[in-house]
Amino acid sequence: MHELGIVFYIIRDVKQAAAEHGVSKVSGVVMDIGEVSTIVPEYLTDCWRWAADKEELLKGSELKINIIPAVTYCDECKSEYETVRHGRKCPRCGSERTWLLRGNEVEIKSIEVPETY
C-alpha cells in the first residue's frame, strides 16, 4: 500500500543521479528489493509505470526488480537460515535470539542509460 510513496522516492533519487551524471534519458532502473521488505514488487512496477511516464527523463523506462532472499542469523547456534520458511525461531536449535541478516533492502542498484544520451 506504500508502493506509490516509494516510487516517488525512487524518482527523486534517479533524477538527482541523472543530473549528477549529465544524463537526459533513462531507459531502466534496477532495484534490489528484500524478500521481507514489505514491498509488493507487482504494485511497485504498476506505480512506476503510472508515475515514471509523467517524467520526460523516465518516459517508457522499465523498473527491474531483483529480489534479495531473506536470511536470518541465530545468535545461539551461530547459523543462518531462510527467514520466510522458518520465521523467528531457529530451525536448528529452537532459539528466538535471532536477527535478520538481509532481506529488508529497498535499494536503487543502478540506472540504465541509452548510449546516445
Binding site: M1, H2, L4, G5, I6, Y9, I10, R12, D13, V14, A17, H21, V23, S27, G28, T38, R88, E96, E105, V106, E107, I108, K109, S110, I111, E112, V113, P114, E115, T116
Partner: protein, 224 residues
C-alpha cells in the same frame, strides 16, 4: 538498438529521509521542542486518547498537535474544540504515511513560541509509518483491544520502532479474546525496551499513567 550504459547507484531509498529526519531532530532539540510521533491503525482511538491526555497535561506542558490524514480536518477541529490547544491539520495528498520533509512543513506552520511538546498524529496505518523516520524524539503507538493481541507478531516493524505501546479500549476486553500479558510478551519479543500502558480513553482509566509518562519523557529529554 542503442547500447545501454549502466550507472551504479547502490543507494537505499530511505537514505535521504533518514538524513532529513536527523536534521529535524537536531533542530527541534536546539529549540527545546519534544516531538512525539503517534501511530496506530485507523480507529484505534488516537484522537480520543490525545484529548484525554492533553487535558491532563496542558497546565504542566505547552502542547501543540499536528493531525495527519489523507483528507479532511475533522481531527484537528475536534482536538482544538476539546482542549483549546494549538492544532493543525496536515494532508498527505493520498500518501499512507508522513516523512521527515512533510513533518517539517507541518512544524513550520506551528507557532512554536513556548511550546514544549508537539504530538504528531500520523496516518492510521501499521505498515508504512513505521518505515519512515519523521524526525521525532520518540515513537509511540496505540493498539486497541478489538484489533487482537497478536498484532506485534503480524506487524513486527511497527512494534520494534516504538518506545511506548498504549493498549486502548481495555473496557471491552471481556468481549474479545485479548490477553494483555500475552500481548506484552509479544511486544517484548520485538522490542525489549518498549513500555506498555493499558488505558481506556473513553472512561479515562489509565490515562493518568500515560500523562505521567509524557511529562517524564519531556523532562528527561530536556535535561539530556
Amino acid at each position: 538498438m542503442d547500447n545501454i550504459k549502466v550507472i551504479e547507484i547502490k543507494k537505499s531509498v530511505f537514505e535521504d529521509n533518514e538524513i532529513d529526519a536527523e536534521n529535524l531532530r537536531k533542530e527541534l532539540k536546539a529549540k527545546g521542542v519534544y516531538l512525539l510521533n503517534l501511530m496506530s491503525s485507523p480507529g484505534a482511538g488516537k484522537t480520543t486518547t490525545l484529548i484525554r491526555t492533553i487535558n491532563l497535561i496542558k497546565d504542566k506542558l505547552r502542547v501543540a498537535v499536528m493531525e495527519a490524514d489523507i483528507d479532511s480536518d475533522v481531527d484537528a477541529v475536534k482536538i482544538k474544540e476539546a482542549t483549546g490547544i494549538q492544532s493543525i491539520q496536515l494532508h498527505t495528498g493520498g500518501m499512507c504515511h508522513l516523512d521527515a520533509e512533510m513533518t517539517r512543513q507541518g512544524i513550520d506552520n506551528l507557532d512554536l513560541a513556548g511550546v514544549d511538546l508537539v504530538i504528531l498524529e500520523n496516518v492510521g496505518n501499521l505498515v508504512c509509518p513505521a518505515e519512515f523516520d519523521t524526525g521525532a524524539a520518540r515513537n509511540a503507538m496505540i493498539l486497541s483491544v478489538p484489533e487482537g493481541d497478536d498484532k506485534p507478531l503480524k506487524y513486527p516493524l511497527m512494534f520494534s520502532v516504538c518506545d511506548l505501546v498504549v493498549i486502548n479500549k481495555i473496557d471491552v476486553q471481556p468481549y474479545f479474546d485479548f490477553d494483555i500479558e500475552k500481548c506484552k510478551s509479544y511486544i517484548k519479543m520485538r522490542n525489549p525496551n518498549a513500555e506498555v500502558i493499558p488505558i481506556c480513553a473513553k472512561t479515562g482509566q489509565g490515562v493518568e499513567a500515560l500523562a505521567e509518562w509524557l511529562i517524564r519523557q519531556v523532562k528527561l529529554w530536556k535535561n539530556q
